[in-house]
């Protein structure tokens, strides 16, 4: 009923970023003469931008609480990566190194969350301090040098080295990775089934059934899943990093949509006072947002050093930008209270496509930075201006 009453203009606004994403993909397809859609490049797009998805998921929670951000994530990624790299180079096992990296990230998150939530230090200042301090500490840990990582288990598990793909258990000797194909198709089927079953149960309880738009979205999504599966299968299969991305996105989508704490992030950003009067401990909500951000920065650190097979003091620079930009492109409000993981995915993919497209075309990293800055500003501009129109 609500869908129908929406005007075409409103729908266009709602799907603006998807339309832009499609436009950008077409733009780069033409510019790269179709290269960007090669199986290998799609695979690279996922592997190289794994950290964006992970960080953006955490950043979304911070932004939801009222447009707050974490500027320190890039440095924390570097710091946790450095610790892991040094540990493994000294012979520590992958399991222990990973655990330590995650815990260090969490501890940093708690530290920053403490100042922000309980002392009410403005988030940009608290995290700006973290941004410098942890960059410095990374250098200290690495003593200014790169540390190579050759722990194969670690690399294979977190998307680094040549073999960071899920092996083809069902190999038929053909070109296609059968296991990847199977997993992809099964997932697509499960997704389609669970969604339709959800509609059924909704109808049974007397609520509105699926709208045409919802059905159409499902069809498109399933088609997209099948296509990506095919592309991945025709290169090397499932990159291990995709498993981590999928896991993080799935878990955080669930948290934001279906748990009480998840909804509190939205509520605090929407109207903090109202939330407090509803009996929610709002300070705790801020604390959790930043503690969680630290934890995910730890995970992103793992993915980053694995991807590069080394830890270096310059890693993670500008990562906070990628994460923040993904959120805003994905429709998160700069004032908090609005934003979804599904939007963040679109934002992160868009950032990935821009990164990937520009490097295939051969633009220098410098122009890439400039383009990213402009993209971020445009995304926020669209958000702010469209809100103004409503008012």
């Amino acid at each position: 009923m609500i869908m129908k009453s929406e005007s075409i203009g409103a729908a266009a606004k709602k799907y603006m970023m998807i339309i832009i994403l499609v436009g950008v993909v077409i733009f780069f397809s033409i510019l790269t003469k179709g290269k960007i859609l090669y199986a290998q490049n799609i695979n690279n797009l996922i592997s190289q931008n794994g950290y964006v998805f992970v960080l953006a998921a955490g950043m979304l929670l911070c932004i939801l609480t009222g447009g707050n951000i974490d500027l320190a994530v890039g440095s924390v990624v570097c710091f946790t990566g450095a610790i892991g790299g040094v540990m493994m180079s000294k012979g520590s096992s992958a399991g222990i190194a990973v655990l330590v990296m995650l815990l260090v990230g969490l501890a940093i998150g708690c530290f920053q969350g403490f100042w922000i939530a309980f002392i009410s230090v403005p988030p940009f200042i608290a995290t700006l301090a973290g941004m410098y301090a942890f960059r410095g500490l990374s250098n200290v840990v690495l003593q200014g040098f790169a540390v190579g990582i050759n722990n194969q288990t670690f690399l294979n598990l977190f998307g680094g080295g040549a073999d960071c793909y899920v092996p083809d258990f069902l190999s038929t000797g053909g070109k296609l990775n059968m296991f990847c194909l199977l997993v992809g198709l099964v997932l697509a089927l499960i997704f389609a089934l669970s969604t339709t079953l959800g509609w059924k149960s909704r109808q049974k309880k007397g609520l509105a059934g699926a709208s045409t738009a919802e059905k159409l979205t499902l069809v498109i999504l399933v088609a997209l899943m099948v296509w990506i599966t095919y592309e991945l299968a025709s290169y090397k299969g499932i990159p291990t990093v995709l498993i981590w991305i999928a896991l993080v996105l799935f878990v955080y989508n669930y948290i934001t949509q279906n748990t009480a704490i998840g909804r509190y992030f939205y509520a605090v950003g929407g109207n903090e006072k109202a939330t407090r009067l509803s009996g929610v401990n709002t300070k705790m909500v801020y604390f959790v947002a930043y503690a969680n951000m630290g934890f995910l920065a730890g995970l992103a650190g793992i993915l980053t050093v694995a991807r590069a097979s080394s830890a270096q003091p310059t890693y993670g620079q500008g990562y906070e930008m990628d994460a923040i930009a993904s959120c805003f492109i994905g429709g998160a409000s700069a004032y908090g209270g609005v934003g979804k993981i599904s939007g963040v995915i679109i934002g992160a993919v868009l950032m990935g496509v821009i990164n990937q497209g520009m490097s295939i075309v051969g633009w220098s990293a410098n122009y890439q930075k400039a383009v990213k800055g402009v993209v971020l500003l445009l995304a926020v501009l669209i958000d702010v201006v469209s809100k103004k129109e409503k008012a």
Partner: protein
């Protein structure tokens, strides 16, 4: 006599330097609607905050006995657990979330880690029906009007299984129709056995719904009146309790003031809400004020008084869609900027001292000079000595109690803050002063002093418009009174002819509900 559901015994609550509640007692019977009335700052909201656990057990003295047991609430959750639910004056809703989500915020269906959305929306729809809303609970709160939002608040309270519902000024932002509907809803709940406490300024509402009335004044309970008793309840009877003393003693006389020409005239002034342009907030209002005259605008909260004043003051509120403003007989078109209004010698002294009026983190001196900084500067350089002298002059003139004008305004009492605010606008040397609730939330002594200042302004030939929701104040201080209700001026009378009765009658005549 029914069962006593709630008894608050000898509640005393002190804030640093102020005794907000002094031995307050309140008894509420099961199944009744109990009205809590009193002037602004009398302590009604403080009392309810004690009851709901916002001021936790231990921060006050006295006992809360609810349903036969002594309660020690540490936070809102505790009191809600017992079925005591408070609906605050400012709506506690998150605009970007759906109605259903808002209703169960902090009280989610299902588990903490797995919210059951189907149940949430089904139950929400059920409660929405109970309050007479037909909207789906999936609609976002920002998409429905204020009246409906108030109903959502009530549905939210019902969803918490409220046994004792406290409504703090529930109709303050509603129009007549919505107010009436809300009051009828309350009467309907009463029939089903719900107990309610209503805090309100609107005495006709009190008379309409309540079974008992407790009057609070200056932090103490004055009396509890039984509406079904032998004594007939009139609004005068309630006001007598609220005000408590003979009216003539509270106001200084103003004598020998010559009332001159018309100084400012507003005709057919119409203003729309800034966010919801379809809502008319000020509807075809015409009024005028003469030199040396004090004109009162009496109206209840939400009648559109502040909106009227701010829209005259350089369109600082809403969207002006029609009307003519004449100053000294000449038509002027003010730009959408307070600067322009100040240039035309208009001053607006806000009702919201802390939010819109003062810069609490700055000194008395800085606040005093703010609106007319240019007069003490040469080529934008401020003459600090002059500034100090000006601040001292107004401190002495208005008798502001402070050790020095370098004192931060945030450290002053309400009455002294109000004096600084007045000083700022007097220093701007206006001809027309619009004072919005100039005595809100300040003690009786300071009120008297503010009244003296108003008299002095009139004597100096200024035109004063005084907006107030305190009838005695309007009656005693004004030369002429406009009565405003539901965004219109519904009447005008000379102060000598006005009485509380005929003003109230005028409001009632203009619309049944409010």
């Amino acid at each position: 006599m029914g069962k006593i559901l709630l008894e608050m015994k000898n509640i005393t609550k002190t804030f640093p330097g102020v005794k907000a509640l002094d031995n307050v007692n309140l008894q509420v019977e099961e199944g009744e609607i109990h009205a809590l009335v009193g002037e602004n700052g009398a302590g009604k909201s403080t009392l309810m905050n004690v009851l709901s656990g916002i001021y936790p057990y231990g921060s006050y003295e006295g006992d809360i006995v609810y349903d036969g047991e002594v309660c020690k609430f540490g936070n809102i959750k505790d009191s809600e657990g017992k079925g005591i639910v408070i609906i605050h004056q400012e709506l506690a809703l998150v605009p970007e979330m759906s109605i259903g989500e808002n209703m169960y915020l902090g009280n989610e269906r299902g588990f903490k880690a797995k919210i059951d959305w189907n149940t949430t929306y089904m139950e929400a729809d059920k409660y929405l029906k109970m309050v007479g809303l037909t909207e789906s609970s999936k609609v976002l709160v920002k998409e429905i009007g204020t009246g409906k939002q108030q109903l959502v608040e009530i549905a939210k309270a019902l969803a918490k299984k409220a046994k004792l519902l406290i409504l703090d000024e529930p109709t303050s932002s509603l129009n007549e129709e919505d107010s009436k509907a809300l009051l009828d809803l309350m009467l309907g709940f009463k029939k089903q056995g719900m107990t309610m406490i209503i805090i309100t300024h609107k005495l006709n509402e009190v008379a309409y719904v309540s079974d008992k009335i407790t009057v609070i004044r200056d932090g103490s309970t004055i009396e509890t009146i039984d509406c079904h008793g032998p004594e007939k309840i009139s609004e005068d009877r309630i006001i007598k309790g609220m005000v408590g003393r003979e009216i003539t003693n509270r106001f200084p006389r103003r004598e020998g003031v010559e009332i001159g020409e018309i100084n400012m005239e507003v005709s057919n002034w119409t203003v729309h809400h800034p966010l919801y342009p379809e809502r008319i907030v000020v509807n075809d209002v015409s009024l005028n004020v003469r030199k040396g005259e004090v004109v009162g605008i009496y109206g209840l909260m939400g009648a559109g008084r502040t909106e009227l004043a701010m829209s005259i003051f350089g369109q600082s509120y809403g969207i002006l869609t029609g009307g003519i403003l004449k100053i000294d007989g000449k038509e002027v078109h003010l730009k959408k900027s307070p600067t322009d209004a100040i240039k035309h010698k208009i001053a607006y002294v806000t009702e919201d001292r802390k939010g819109n009026g003062l810069i609490l983190s700055q000194s008395i001196k800085v606040n005093t000079s703010l609106a007319n900084l240019n007069s003490i500067s040469t080529a934008t350089v401020i003459d600090k000595d002059k500034e100090y002298a000006v601040a001292m002059e107004y401190k002495n003139k208005l008798n502001t109690k402070t050790p020095s004008v370098e004192q931060l305004v945030g450290n002053l009492s309400g009455g002294n803050q109000q004096k600084v605010l007045l000083a700022k606008w007097m220093f701007a040397e206006p001809d027309i002063l619009i004072l919005d609730e100039p005595t809100r939330g300040i003690d009786v002594g300071a009120k008297y002093e503010i009244y003296c200042i108003i008299n002095d302004l009139a004597k100096a030939g200024k035109s004063v418009i005084m907006i107030s929701s305190e009838l005695p104040e309007v009656l005693a201080m004004s030369d002429r009174i406009y009565i405003m209700n539901a965004s219109r001026i519904v009447g005008e009378m000379k102060a000598s002819e006005a009485t509380q009765e005929n003003i109230m009658a005028m409001i009632l005549k203009s619309g049944r509900g409010a």
